[in-house]
């Protein structure tokens, strides 16, 4: 039986990797994948803690997160596709329409 601390450690590691990837990568698709990694890190923590606590609530939440992540992926990819058509680029720093 692997102690729950390992799972949490792995979860933190994945999350930090996701954050770092989000900040150092420049194209939108990779940044998107970094977000997915962060979401799954959170999922891992949920499941590990649910197992340790013997509760189903954490596992149920994970299903919700997966569902939301799927929807987000669909919408996000569609947006990226449209941005690419407009700008011929998927670099994040080219999108500055909201500059004040």
């Amino acid at each position: 039986m692997i102690p729950v601390g390992w799972f949490i450690g792995l979860s933190i590691l994945l999350f930090v990797l996701g954050v770092i990837a989000f900040f150092i990568k420049r194209d939108l698709i990779t940044m998107f994948m970094a977000i997915e990694v962060m979401l799954n890190a959170a999922n891992l923590a949920f499941i590990a803690l649910a197992k340790a606590a013997g509760s189903l609530a954490g596992q149920v939440i994970v299903f919700f997160v997966i569902t939301v992540a799927a929807a987000e992926a669909a919408v996000g990819l569609a947006i990226i596709l449209l941005v690419f058509r407009q700008k011929k680029s998927i670099k994040a720093e080219d999108m500055r329409l909201m500059k004040g």
Partner: protein
């Protein structure tokens, strides 16, 4: 049912103002004239009703509803009818009706036809409220209402710069008087606790008002009257008011509105008599104005301006009457003056109409054969105002001067007599220059020279008739104690005691002869000057150039007022505008705007538009939040 009197013109003005756009010109004319005529009929019926009522039950009061109730301040919307109001309603609606009819012809080709009749009806309504209001508050509403209509009608041709300015001048000068007037009303409320005329009369008779207070209040009210009735020092607006259409000058600036001050003084006669000093002031101001304005009328070349100065002078006579305690005589002169002065104005309007709007007497002359109806009616008006016996002006002016003499006010009497010479002189100067002598008409005006249409000449004839007969209701005392029906009618409001000492009959006769003599002298002088040897005026002008210039420029009063009051005010306002408005007020607002803009520019630096920057801020926020929670 007398409370219906103001209703007709008021309702008509409302209909014209709201629905006038959809009414035809003909409907507008009929409606405007008939509404005033209906008022006149009701006034007549009320007048005859009043004759039957015993004096104890006067005044008849109709309270429509409680109008203002604020703490101890109460005012009803109530109208009253007593002999004084009755005389005024008859004058306002009677003369007003004739002028409405005349206007149908005079304004026929004006593009502001409907607007004109709306204002004219509104004026009639306001004037009736003024004379019928049963308390000072309602009277003040009418007082301001006629002022407003006067402003609107003087500036009727507002696209003309001088007309717009004249309207403003009239309004502003009246405001000065009205400020004092409203102060007087406040004092009355303070002392009597009510603005009701019956309550005021009761308080004065009950001794609740001391003499000093009476003087203060009466003088404040009289300052209001000098504004409205164009007396020294606030008369300057009336000559300029001639910029308005001529029927307006006849109705508002000769017959009715400008005499409101006299009506007010007569209405408050107990107060003025109680004070004594105030009455003396009224008499002196009246006498000074009577002669001052008459001298200015001597040199004017504008036919309407001569009449305007003449109006100022004649109202001066009315105030002489009030000042020497002969309120009934003052009211009598108001009554007769309404007929002959509106006649003169309307006839002058008819002359202007015939000459395509010419006002300058130097470009007239010899008109009597072209204007077979205007000429005799104008002449009747001139004779009446000059004080020739058997016409109305003679009786009323004589009543005033006799009373002034009887009260021992010899200076005022002498001033009045001198004014009478001047009046006769300048009126006949007007007649001779306009209708006699050689023709000096401009060629283009002569082509259209024509007598006015019947709708204009019939009112002239009617007014001429009244100018002759109106005097016979107030015959002088030499023809019997009871001869003066006018005074007897007014007795319930103006106690006969005010008429004071009576002279012996022979003295009365002498005074009457003196009046006749001065009137004839004035007329003869005008005849010599302007018909017999037309070069005389030039010689006199050459002999006294300074005096002539002084008179011609109206004593430079306008210039003096301009330098003493208007310029400093304008300069002061400009200084306040430059320093306070531009710097403090605008500075505050501009500063607020600049500060907000600066803050916005600084904060917008955070809005880089880059997703990563936002994410970084979120991350930092989470870090700070976690740090706060954990440590």
């Amino acid at each position: 049912m007398f409370w219906l009197i103001p209703l007709f013109p008021g309702a008509s003005a409302f209909v014209l103002a709201v629905f006038g756009k959809w009414l035809s010109k003909k409907t507008v004319s009929w409606q405007a004239c008939l509404s005033v005529f209906a008022s006149f009929l009701v006034s007549l019926v009320s007048f005859f009703g009043l004759l039957k009522i015993s004096p104890e039950s006067l005044p008849v009061i109709k309270t429509l509803f409680r109008w203002i109730e604020s703490g101890s301040f109460k005012a009803d919307l109530s109208l009253q009818l007593d002999p004084l109001s009755s005389v005024m309603t008859l004058v306002v609606t009677g003369v007003g009706f004739l002028i409405h009819v005349y206007s149908v012809g005079y304004m026929a080709h004006d593009k502001g036809y409907k607007r004109y009749f709306t204002y004219l009806n509104l004026f009639t309504f306001a004037m009736l409220i003024l004379v019928m209001g049963a308390n000072l508050v309602l009277m003040f509403v009418g007082w301001e209402g006629v002022g407003l209509c006067s402003y609107l009608l003087i500036g009727f041709w507002f696209e003309k710069h001088s007309a717009a300015n004249a309207g403003k001048k009239a309004f502003i000068v009246n405001r000065i008087g009205d400020a004092a007037f409203i102060l007087g009303i406040f004092f009355i409320f303070l002392i009597v606790g009510s603005g009701d005329f019956r309550a005021i009369t009761g308080a004065i008779q009950g001794g609740a008002v001391t003499q000093g207070l009476a003087t203060l209040i009466a003088l404040l009210l009289f300052i209001g009257a000098t504004g409205k009735s164009a007396q020294i020092p606030l008369y300057i607006w009336l000559p300029d008011a001639m910029e308005g259409p001529t029927p307006v000058s006849a109705l508002i600036h000769a017959a009715t509105m400008v005499t409101a001050g006299v009506y007010m003084v007569a209405r408050m006669n107990l107060l003025f008599t109680l004070s004594g000093t105030a009455a003396q002031v009224v008499g002196v101001v009246g006498a000074l104005t009577a002669i001052f304005a008459a001298t200015m009328a001597l040199t004017q070349n504008d036919i309407k301006r001569v009449l305007a100065y003449s109006t100022i002078s004649q109202i001066g006579y009315m105030f002489i009457g009030c000042g020497v305690g002969a309120y009934a005589a003052g009211m009598f002169h108001l009554f007769t003056h309404a007929f002959f002065k509106s006649l003169l104005f309307l006839a002058a309007g008819s002359v202007m109409h015939a000459l395509s709007g010419e006002l300058d007497m130097r470009k007239m002359g010899g008109l009597r054969k072209y204007l077979p109806l205007t000429y005799p009616t104008f002449l009747i008006g001139a004779i009446a105002i000059a004080g020739v016996p058997f016409l109305s002006g003679f009786f009323s002016k004589d009543a005033i001067l006799n009373q002034a003499f009887a009260q021992g006010q010899y200076f005022i009497w002498a001033f009045g007599l001198l004014g009478a010479v001047l009046t006769a002189f300048y009126m006949f100067r007007l007649v001779f220059l306009t209708f006699f002598g050689q023709e000096r008409i401009e060629p283009h005006a002569k082509e259209h020279l024509h007598e006015s249409p019947r709708v204009m000449t019939v009112p002239l004839v009617m007014l001429a008739f009244f100018s002759i007969v109106a005097g016979y209701v107030g015959l002088p005392i030499v023809l019997g104690e009871k001869a003066n029906l006018f005074n007897r009618f007014l007795e319930p409001v103006i106690p006969p005691g005010h008429e004071g000492a009576h002279l012996s009959l022979s003295a009365e006769w002498l005074l009457i002869l003196a009046s006749i003599a001065v009137a004839l002298c004035g007329i003869y002088a005008a005849y010599v000057f302007y018909l017999k040897s037309p070069r005389t005026p030039h010689r006199i002008v050459a002999r006294f150039p300074v005096l002539y210039r002084l008179l011609y420029n109206k004593y430079y009063v306008d210039e003096i007022y301009n330098a003493a009051f208007v310029k400093p005010l304008v300069r002061g306002s400009q200084a306040v505008y430059d320093n306070f408005d531009l710097r403090v007020i605008d500075g505050t607002i501009d500063g607020t705007a600049a500060a907000t803009g600066f803050a916005g520019r600084v904060l917008s630096l955070f809005q880089s538009g880059l997703v990563k920057d936002y994410a970084l801020i979120v991350l930092l926020g989470v870090a700070v939040f976690l740090g706060y929670l954990l440590f």
